[in-house]
Symmetry: C2
C-alpha cells in the first residue's frame, strides 16, 4: 500500500523528465512491479482514490540534507500538513559538536548518530527518506536531480517539489591550497573522525617499526592542525589528552618525540571568542607543549611536509608531518555554486536568503544552515520608506511619539537597530534622537532621521556557521511551514515597509546561547550570553551537561554519557580499527 503511493509520486516526479518513457519500459520489462501496482490498485481502489485526493491537496516539501538544519526542520514540522521527501547521502543525523571527541575515542562514533528514519517514525504524516545526494537543483522546473551514493546504486533520478528546503551544509574550504585535498584530513563527517582516529594510531605504530632513526620517528609524530578555530583548537586539546593520558603509557619509547602544532594564519587563535579566552588557550597550550604558530599561512602540502609563509617576514618554512588536520573554515558545495549561477547570484560566495530564509531570486526555495547566509536588509536602503511609515500625520517631521509607535516594528524588521541601541546602551528610540540633537529634541525631519540612524547598519553581522544557528533556523522555518495557511489570513510579521499590509511571518532572529571551547585536561572555556566568561573545570562540567542534554535521543544521550564514564575509568581505546 505504501509502496503504491510512493510509486505514484515517483511517476509524477518524472512527468516532465526525459527519462519518463525509459521508466515505463523498465516497469513493463520487469513485470513484477507492474503487477504489484495493478493489484494494489484493484484491491484497495476506493481507499486509494481518497488518499490520493487528500494527497493531491498537500504540497510536497523536499528537504535536502539531514544535518542540524534539516533535522531540526523535520523535528519541528507538522508532518500531516505536507507530503515530505527527505534526500540526503547520510541516513542519519550526527551530533557534530562531538566530532572532535570521536577523533580520539573519547566518544564513539555510533553514540553521536541517530538514524533519520527513527526521527521520522516519531512524526505523523507521510515523510519519506531516500539515501542519495542532490546533484542539481532545477528551480525553473521545480525539480531536483538526485543520485544514489550507495555502491552499485549510482542511478540518477528526479524529485519534484512544491517547496524546496536546502540544508546541505558546506564543505571544507581549502582556499585552493595545492596538496590539501590529497594529503590532509578534514573534520566534517563522522567518517572523517573515524579516519583521523585510525590515522593517529597508525602514526604511533609506524614510528614503532624497527630500523628508523629518532629523526624519522619524530617526523612521523608531528601532528599538524591548520586553523585556529574552535574545531582545530578542540582537536589539538583532545589529541594532547589522548597522547598524554593513554598513548604514552602504551608507547613509552615515543613519548618525547610527539609534537602537536597548531597553525593559524591570523594573529590569534579562537578569534570569534573573547580575547581573555584566546589568551588563556594560548597559555594553556604553551604549558601543554602544543606549539601554537600564529601568522603562518600554509602555501602547499606535500606527502611528507607542509610549507608555510611566515606572515610579517614573508619567509618560507617547511614542517615535516605525520598527520595534518585542515580546519580553516567552510566553503560552498559545487551543487550550490551551480544553483547560484542559475538564479543570478553568481557574484556571491555563499547562497543568500532574505530574513525569512527564502532564497533571493527564486520562489518556493528556502535555504538554511551552513549552505546559506541571511542577507539582512539595510536600514539605509529603506530609510525614506521607514520615515514615511512612521510619519502618520504626513507632517514631514517625526515626533517622539510617532517614532515610539513604530520603533518595535522597526526593531523587528531590522535587528541591527536593536543591537545598535544595546551597543550604545540606549534604552529606546528617544535616546537615539537625543544623541543626535541634544536633550530638548522633540521632532526630527528626514535628514536628521537619516543622520541619527546612519551608524545603525554597522551592527549587521553574518551569523556564524554553527550548529546552534542551523538548529534555530530549522525550527523557525518549520514553524513558518506549520502556520503557512493560518498566516495567510492573520499575518504575524511586521508591517511591510515598502508595500502595504504585514509580512506573513516575523523574520528569523538568532538567539545566541553561548559557545564552548574545550581546551583539554578537563578544562573548557565558555562564553555565555552577556559576555559572561568562565574558564576551567566548572565549565567542563557545564559543557558535559549541555552536550548531554542537547542529544537528539535518549539512546545517544545514554551512550554519550556512558562513553564519558568508561573513558574516565578505562581510558581511550587504541586498537587500530
Amino acid at each position: 500500500m505504501r509502496f503504491f503511493s510512493f510509486f505514484e509520486r515517483s511517476t509524477r516526479a518524472f512527468h516532465h523528465s526525459p527519462t519518463y518513457s525509459k521508466l515505463i519500459v523498465l516497469f513493463t520489462v520487469s513485470g513484477g512491479g507492474l503487477v504489484a501496482y495493478s493489484e494494489s490498485k484493484s484491491d484497495n481502489g476506493a481507499y486509494n482514490v481518497v488518499s490520493s485526493q487528500a494527497d493531491a491537496k498537500k504540497k510536497k516539501v523536499v528537504v535536502l540534507g539531514t544535518g542540524w538544519a534539516g533535522t531540526s526542520f523535520l523535528k519541528n514540522l507538522n508532518g500531516s500538513l505536507y507530503d515530505v521527501q527527505v534526500v540526503s547521502p547520510r541516513n542519519y543525523f550526527a551530533f557534530t559538536p562531538l566530532l572532535p571527541s570521536v577523533t580520539c575515542g573519547t566518544v564513539e562514533a555510533r553514540s553521536i548518530v541517530e538514524p533519520i528514519r527513527k526521527i521520522i517514525k516519531k512524526k505523523t504524516g507521510n515523510i519519506e527518506f531516500c539515501e542519495a545526494e542532490c546533484v542539481k537543483i532545477d528551480a525553473a522546473n521545480k525539480k531536483v536531480h538526485c543520485r544514489s551514493t550507495l555502491p552499485d546504486g549510482r542511478k540518477e533520478f528526479l524529485v519534484d517539489y512544491d517547496y524546496l528546503v536546502i540544508a546541505m551544509g558546506a564543505q571544507a574550504n581549502t582556499f585552493n591550497t595545492p596538496g590539501v585535498p590529497e594529503h590532509c584530513h578534514f573534520l566534517k563527517e563522522v567518517e572523517d573522525a573515524q579516519r583521523i582516529r585510525r590515522s593517529v594510531i597508525d602514526c604511533f605504530e609506524k614510528a614503532s617499526l624497527p630500523n628508523l632513526s629518532d629523526e624519522e620517528r619524530k617526523k612521523m609524530l608531528h601532528f599538524v592542525i591548520v586553523g585556529g578555530g574552535p574545531t582545530g583548537v578542540e582537536f589539538a586539546a583532545e589529541l594532547h589528552d589522548f597522547v598524554c593520558e593513554d598513548l604514552e603509557k602504551l608507547y613509552p619509547d615515543l613519548q618525547d618525540l610527539v609534537k602537536i602544532y597548531l597553525i593559524e594564519a591570523g594573529d590569534q587563535i579562537l578569534n570569534m571568542f573573547d580575547k581573555r579566552i584566546s589568551s588563556f588557550a594560548v597559555e594553556k597550550f604553551g604549558r601543554d607543549g602544543i606549539d601554537v604558530k600564529t601568522g603562518y599561512q600554509v602555501v602547499s602540502v606535500s606527502d611528507k611536509a607542509i610549507t608555510m609563509k611566515v606572515r610579517p617576514s614573508g619567509e618560507i618554512t617547511s614542517l615535516p608531518y605525520g598527520m595534518v588536520l585542515w580546519s580553516t573554515g567552510i566553503g560552498t558545495r559545487p551543487v550550490i555554486m551551480d544553483f547560484m549561477k542559475q538564479i543570478g547570484q553568481m557574484n556571491r560566495r555563499v547562497l543568500a536568503t532574505d530574513e525569512w530564509l527564502r532564497v533571493l531570486g527564486c520562489d518556493d526555495v528556502y535555504a538554511l544552515g551552513d549552505c546559506a547566509t541571511i542577507q539582512q536588509r539595510k536600514v539605509m536602503e529603506d530609510i525614506s520608506a521607514i520615515f514615511n511609515l512612521a510619519d502618520k500625520d504626513k507632517s514631514g517631521t517625526l515626533t517622539i511619539e510617532e517614532l515610539q509607535d513604530v520603533i518595535d516594528d522597526i526593531c523587528l524588521r531590522y535587528p541591527q537597530v536593536e543591537l545598535y541601541l544595546k551597543a550604545k546602551q540606549m534604552r529606546n528610540a528617544v535616546d537615539l534622537l537625543i544623541e543626535y540633537k541634544g536633550k530638548e529634541t522633540k521632532e526630527v525631519d528626514i535628514e536628521g532621521f537619516k543622520i541619527a540612524l546612519s551608524q545603525v547598519d554597522s551592527q549587521m553581522k553574518n551569523l556564524p556557521a554553527t550548529a546552534q544557528v542551523a538548529a534555530q533556523e530549522g525550527a523557525y522555518l518549520a514553524k513558518c511551514f506549520n502556520n503557512m495557511e493560518e498566516s495567510e489570513h492573520n499575518p504575524e510579521g511586521p508591517p511591510r515597509i515598502r508595500g502595504s499590509g504585514r509580512h506573513r511571518f516575523r523574520p528569523f532572529r538568532y538567539k545566541h546561547l553561548g559557545q564552548f571551547a574545550p581546551l583539554g585536561g578537563e578544562q573548557t572555556a565558555a562564553q555565555l550570553p552577556g559576555d559572561w566568561i568562565s574558564i576551567g573545570h566548572s565549565s567542563q562540567w557545564l559543557w558535559y551537561s549541555v552536550y548531554a542534554s542537547k542529544q537528539v535521543s535518549w539512546r545517544t544521550r545514554i551512550l554519550v554519557i556512558s562513553n564519558w564514564t568508561w573513558r574516565f575509568i578505562f581510558g581511550r581505546d587504541s586498537s587500530g580499527i
Copy 2:
C-alpha cells in the same frame, strides 16, 4: 634508553641480511639516529653493558599473530625469561566469537577488541610489539621477513629468533569458487563485521530508492549465507533478529520483501553439533522464514547472482542476491603454504605439529591455533615399542599387572586410548583385554596386544578450529616455555616409547568445555561436555554469562554487557556508518 636496546636488536636481526649495508647508509645519512645512538651509549654506558649482557643470555621468542593462540601464549608467558617480539598486522586482540553480533550491531566492534600493547604492559619483562605482517619464514636462517601493513609504511624488515611461535590463524576457504573473493563477504576480522553491517543497511537503503520494481527490491533484499557452520548459522540468526526487531520498523514498505537463505553443501547444518541441535535449528529457522537449503553446492558467484548445483539431481540453479556471506571454513595462508614447502610438508593441506606443538621437520618452531594441526602419533605405529616398554620382565607376554603399570603413561602419550576406553564404556586396561580374550584372561602376547588395540586409532580426531582450542594451546605452550629450564632436569612428560628417558613436557591435551550455537530470538543451543544438551532461553543466559566472563579485560567486559543492555532497551542502530 629502550630505543637503544631495540635498535641494537634490530641491527642484530640484519646481520646476515643483504639490506644491512643499506641500513648503515640510511643511519649515516639521516644522522640524528646515529647521534642519539652514541649519546645514549656514552650517557648510560655502564647500565647498557649490564642490560645487554643480561639480554644476551635470554633467548629471543618471536610470536607471529595476536589472535586467540598468540594472545593466550603472551598472557601466560613469564615475560622475564625471554626477549619477546610480537609481530602482527593487527595491534589488538579481538574476541572473535562475538563477531557475528558485531555484524548487526548487537555488540559494537570497539567492545570486543583490546590493544595488544595493553595486554603486554601488564606483563613483566621485555615484550615488544610491531604492527606488520610476516611475509616469509626463513627457518634455515632463523629469521622472519616482515612487512608493515600501515599506509606509506610498506618497508620490509627482518626479525631473527631463537624460538618462533606461529599463531597467524587461517583465511577463509573459497574452494577456488569463481567470483567468491570479489563478491562475497567473509567474517574473519573485525573490519569484515563492520563492512557487513554497513552492507546490510546499504541493501535496505538501495531497496528504498525510487523507480524500482518490487522484483528488483526483492533481489536487493536476498541475504545469502553460504556455509551452515556455527558462524553462518549465528549470522543468519543475528540478521533475522536485526531485520525483525529493528529494520522492519524503519523500512515498513520492505518487510515482506526480505529473505534470508542459508546454503549448505552437506546434508545438515551445524554438523559438528548433536543431531538434536541441528534439527532444532532447522525447525526454528523454518518458523522464522529463514530458507535453509542443504545439499546445494555453490559453483560460482557473479556480481548479481549466486549459481548452485543441487546435490542429488545435479541441477543448476541461480539465486539473485543483495549480499552474500561466505563462511565455509578455513584455508591455509600463502605464507604458511610457502613455509610448508621449505620444511618438506608440501603434500599436506595444513601445517602439522607434534603433540608438543612443535612443527614437524623444523627445530625451535612452534605452531598453534587455526594455522596448524596436531598430528597425533598412532598407537599402531609404536605398538611393538609399547609392548616392549610394558613387558618389564621381557617374558614375551604382558600380564594384567604389567599393563596396568604403564596404561596411564600410554593414555597420556596416546589420548585416543583414553577416548576409546570411554567410548566403549570400559573402566580400565583390563576391560580391553577381556573384550579381546574373554573373562578369564591374565596375559597377552604381542599379536593379541595388537588386536586388542587395533581399533584405538579410529578415535583420533583433528581438533576443531575454534577459539577454545587455540586459547588452550597458547596457555599450554606458554607453560612449556616457562618451565623450559626446569624441565631439562625434571622432565614432566611420559616415558619416551622409542628411546630412553622421559619427554620434557606432557603432550598437549584439549579439554572441551562445550560449544554454543545462538539461534536468534534469545534462544541458544548449548552442547556441554558429557553430551549434555540445552536449547532455549536458559542457554541464552548461560551464553551471556560465559561470553561476558571470558572477555579479555574488564573494559571489554563492561562494554559488551552495556552493549547488550542498551540493545535490549533501545534496539540496534541502523545508521549507515
